[in-house]
């Protein structure tokens, strides 16, 4: 008898749909059809950026920021974001960051992966000469030669020790590590936060800039193996040794691009120790 129920139980489990409760709305439904842990109706609310309007910052609508003259000086090459930072995403990201719901990292990293793939497509096709996107020629030449664009290293925007203690995790690191695992790309910490600044979200543009000045530095004891690895990546792609290293910088939200710019300029200082050009690409979950 018990065996029979065992068999029937197993059959039942096999045949009945697996219902779990959705991460957002909590209803039991079949999850993960389009995004893991989310039901269909919640996944449909994600405001994805399918075609960015601004080629530099990846914004879905027109972007006055990137037209400012000082924008050209920003140290990162470009930014792409997976979704628009609307009310839905604001709520989800708040749950993830402040509500200690790390399971959101799963759907979020899938969104990042999809955006990364789009970024790859976009960057791998040769640009039109007269494109709005002034880019160093040599980079494109070499990238055309060596099949497709891809990042060489994934890193993330660090958070201060206080914030880490409070939250228990770095939201960007979690996304970055998961993304790296999916893409099978090397990842590691390159940056550290030298001063604890308040939350960026409470500040104006000018304050943000001033606030972040000198807030980041290179991670204190960078493993020399990183550079070895890079060397082999670089020489593998281009034996003549002029190939730049492309770092993908992960963060949760891109608002004015200040954080990305400051981090990128710190990452640029790696060029000195490493002897190759470093290009920083920013990939964020949301674009406000």
């Amino acid at each position: 008898m018990s065996e029979a129920t065992g068999i029937f139980g197993a059959l039942r489990r096999l045949l009945s749909p697996r219902l779990e409760s959705c991460l957002v709305c909590g209803r039991s439904a079949r999850l993960g059809a389009s995004l893991p842990l989310l039901c269909e109706s919640c996944a449909a609310r994600v405001p994805r950026i399918a075609r960015p309007r601004c080629p530099i910052c990846g914004r879905a609508h027109g972007c006055p920021d990137c037209l400012r003259p000082e924008a050209a000086l920003r140290a990162f090459v470009m930014n792409r974001s997976a979704v628009v930072y609307d009310a839905v995403m604001r709520a989800w990201i708040a749950e993830y960051k402040y509500g200690a719901r790390e399971r959101f990292a799963e759907p979020f990293s899938i969104l990042l992966e999809q955006t990364y793939r789009r970024m790859q497509l976009e960057l791998s096709k040769p640009f039109a000469e007269s494109g709005p996107f002034a880019f160093p020629r040599s980079v494109f030449d070499s990238s055309r030669r060596s099949s497709a664009w891809s990042a060489d290293w994934i890193t993330w925007v660090p958070v201060s020790a206080e914030r880490l203690e409070e939250r228990g995790f770095n939201q960007a690191e979690l996304l970055g590590r998961r993304l790296a695992g999916r893409l099978r790309l090397p990842a590691g910490e390159l940056l550290a936060r030298s001063v604890h600044t308040g939350k960026q979200s409470f500040k104006t543009r000018a304050q943000r800039l001033q606030n972040l000045d000198g807030a980041f530095c290179l991670a204190p004891n960078l493993d020399p193996r990183f550079f070895k690895q890079w060397d082999s990546i670089g020489s593998g792609k281009d034996p003549r040794g002029s190939f730049p290293i492309r770092i993908l910088l992960i963060d949760d939200i891109y608002t004015t691009g200040t954080t990305a710019a400051v981090c990128a300029s710190v990452l640029k200082t790696l060029e000195i120790g490493f002897g190759r050009p470093v290009l920083v690409y920013s990939l964020t979950l949301a674009r406000s």
Binding site: G99, A100, R101, E102, L164, E165, E166, R167, G168, F169, N170
Partner: protein, 729 residues
């Protein structure tokens, strides 16, 4: 959060303590004579000469709090006091073997914090005495020494007073101090540590592990265990059922994961109670002293100061006279009388069951017992019925029909407990009910200034003799209230949530009573009442003393078909027209949110001149729509179960379309029927359950209403009493 761990050689063995601030422990132990256990009130004396000879041993200068809290409080044979460092390390490693198994070996050792500084001349970290540490600690001492020391006992007293009956995470403590004692906020760690050493507050990690084997420390043989556990043991413990994480605040299970705050790979965060702050393994949970028995409480009937003889021994007339002040209806008075007698009765032999004697041991005990009983019978956590079944003697069910005036009946109960200084809590699942009750309680008890606690409340940390709270807020209390009233016991989200039931148990003080209030108590509670184990008073009649409208069961085609066809069935149309003609507001309940708006659109076509609204839980403007429905700006409101309770519309008729839906159970049908005939001006509203088939829920709801009406006969108005004798239908 990290905590230091040290051992003290006490009279009856070596005891392990955790520390949030070792400076405090140094001061504390320095002030104590070598072997005595003097009371904490001792003045602190600075006797630096005997500092190193205290027999104190710092075992770790900082390990994840959850590990420290596992070690702290254990007692070891006094032989350990002279143990070599390796012995201590072995003891620690074996006590924490489950934890260390999950970590990578190298991070595990680093996290233990055994060696924070390079060893000097072969001295292990264990031989580090207080004097060695003193320089370093003093250097980092930001507080001016005398000030800090002098105020510490005083601050600790304040802290203990504030923490009475509370269970708070460290973040919540900080926020409370910021509001109530801002000068203490920067030094909260020393103050907490002082109170912990006084054993007046408990410290533990906010998420603990359940199901761990007992007595790891006591069964440990000092020389027996090898440094590293052999593979066999490790395999077995990994393959067996690993102890699950359990939130100490809400009792839910939690999943472990890597944490950057403590560095452990298995630090669990509780998702269930996250709305009230981060509860995690390395988070600190502080538990204040439970409410002390005051004024002879424990046997309240016997020794209550200055409120005259207890109700139990009071003749009926005298009790009536006491209740007269509240101007209750006869049915309300009868029920309130029973309830007051219950509150003031001596627990024990008078009540059935053996639980009465155990009553004084407090809610925590019963919570634990119900938990273990549930764990034994298949692992499901108990709901409030489960707790009630395990300890019925301290509980009372006030079963009052919809519109009976439950709040007024509470007043004499609150008065009874407040008269001897007891703490009262009125908890309700929903925030809007709290907001609605506050002014009424303030008016009834003008001297008390009841505190209202809910998410986003202004007075989060105010204490008062009377507390009104949403059931979620109860998680911030432990052993705090002598009377716990749970309003609408069967309503969402309280009903069916073991976490909230657990919180409602935990917040009750030892010897406290629980009163459940409901119009539709869950079946399990009803059967406890029927078997005579749970005391209960029924209020079968509404305050206006007319019988409840009995639902009419109407057979009708399914709602979905009608929406598809775009036509409405004649029997319903006829009844709706009639309702509109007599000037009634019409509630139409449908099972699903998606059906509400289409049906409203269809109705607007049929009744173009009538204002019609639709609302659901996903409607942002719900409260506005309900207001305009109440003020008759909207005549027909199509809605879902969201409005099944709490909404009172003076002249209204209720139609439930799709009453056979599985989403409507007996309780919600009774509640929806309870929306009709609420006011004395229009006591005879119409209730229609329209469905394809008659279900058990519909029949049960009608039976329940009829049964209540039969019980109500003696309380009805004289005219009604006549008509109710003639059989209906």
């Amino acid at each position: 959060m990290n905590a230091a761990v040290y051992a003290v050689d006490e009279e009856n063995g070596v005891r392990i303590y955790l520390s949030l601030d070792l400076r405090v422990d140094r001061t504390w132990w320095a002030s104590r004579p070598e072997t005595s256990s003097a009371p904490y009130a001792n003045r602190i004396k600075h006797r630096s000469s005997d500092l190193p000879k205290k027999g104190l041993r710092v075992l770790s200068f900082g390990m994840p709090l959850q590990w420290a809290s596992r070690l702290a409080g254990q007692s070891l044979p006094s032989g350990f006091a002279k143990g070599k460092p390796a012995v201590w390390e072995r003891w620690i490693r074996s006590s924490l073997r489950h934890e260390l198994n999950i970590e990578k070996p190298e991070t595990g050792s680093a996290l233990l914090g055994l060696e924070v500084e390079p060893q000097v001349q072969g001295r292990g970290p264990y031989e580090e005495s207080w004097s060695n540490r003193q320089d370093r600690l003093d250097a980092s001492d930001s507080l001016s020494e005398p000030h800090w020391k002098l105020r510490l006992p005083e601050h600790a007293d304040t802290l203990v007073r504030l923490m009475e009956g509370r269970s708070l995470l460290s973040e919540e403590l900080i926020s409370m101090l910021r509001e109530l004692a801002p000068e203490m906020e920067p030094h909260w760690k020393p103050i907490v540590q002082w109170a912990y050493l006084q054993r007046r507050i408990k410290l533990c990690s906010a998420v603990g592990k359940s199901g761990e084997e007992q007595g790891i420390g006591s069964s440990f043989d000092a020389g027996g265990l090898p440094d590293r556990l052999p593979g066999k043991i490790r395999l077995r413990s990994a393959g067996g059922r690993l102890p699950a994480h359990r939130c100490m605040r809400c009792g839910s299970e939690a999943a472990g994961g890597a944490c950057a705050a403590c560095g452990s790979a298995d630090c669990a965060r509780c998702e269930a109670c996250r709305a009230l702050g981060r509860s995690r393994s390395c988070g600190l949970l502080l538990q204040g002293p439970p409410r002390a028995a005051r004024g002879g409480r424990g046997f309240p009937g016997a020794a209550r100061p200055g409120s005259g003889p207890a109700a139990a021994s009071l003749p009926q007339a005298a009790l009536r006279a006491r209740l007269a002040r509240w101007k209750l209806s006869p049915a309300q008075t009868a029920a309130a009388e029973l309830a007051v007698r219950f509150l003031e009765a001596e627990p024990g032999p008078a009540r059935p069951g053996r639980a009465g004697r155990e009553l004084r041991r407090g809610g925590g005990f019963f919570a634990a017992r119900a938990e273990t009983a549930a764990a034994a019978s298949g692992g499901r956590r108990p709901d409030s019925s489960g707790y009630a079944a395990s300890d019925p003697a301290s509980r009372f069910l006030l079963w009052a029909v919809t519109g009976a005036g439950k709040t007024e009946m509470l007043f004499p109960l609150i008065e009874s407990v407040r008269s001897w200084g007891g703490q009262v809590l009125v908890a309700t699942p929903r925030r809007d009910v709290v907001l609605e009750l506050v002014p009424r309680l303030r008016a009834a008890f003008p001297d008390e200034a009841p505190a209202a606690l809910y998410g986003g409340s202004e007075e989060r940390w105010r204490r008062s003799g009377i507390t009104l709270a949403t059931t979620h807020q109860l998680m911030r209390f432990a052993g705090a209230f002598d009377l716990v009233v749970i309003d609408e016991l069967d309503a969402f989200p309280f009903h069916g949530d073991p976490m909230l039931a657990y919180a409602a148990e935990k917040c009750r003080a030892a010897g406290g009573r629980t009163v459940y209030l409901s119009a539709t108590p869950p079946k399990s509670l009803q059967s406890l009442v029927r078997s005579g184990r749970l005391a209960c008073a029924k209020v079968p009649v509404r305050y206006h003393r007319y019988p409840l409208p009995v639902p009419e069961l109407l057979r009708i085609s399914p709602l979905v078909d009608c929406l598809r066809r775009g036509s409405l069935p004649d029997p319903l149309l006829k009844r709706w027209r009639h309702s509109l003609e007599r000037g009634a507001q019409i509630f139409i309940f449908v099972p699903k949110i998606v059906q509400a708006e289409p049906l409203a659109a269809l109705l607007r076509r049929v009744f173009p001149e009538v204002p019609i609204g639709a609302t659901s839980s996903q409607d942002e403007e719900r409260s506005d729509k309900v207001l305009s429905f109440r003020s008759a700006d909207v005549r027909i409101l199509v809605t879902t179960t969201i409005l099944e309770r709490g909404v009172t519309v003076p002249r209204s008729d209720v139609y439930v379309w799709g009453a056979d839906s599985g989403l409507f159970d007996e309780a919600s049908l009774v509640q929806m029927a309870g929306r009709a005939g609420r006011s004395a001006d229009d006591p005879r509203g119409r209730v229609v359950f329209a469905a394809v088939q008659k279900t058990r829920a519909q029949a049960g709801a009608r039976r329940q209403i009829r049964r209540m009406n039969r019980l109500a006969v003696p309380f009805l108005l004289p005219t009604e009493r006549e008509s109710s004798r003639t059989p209906k239908r």
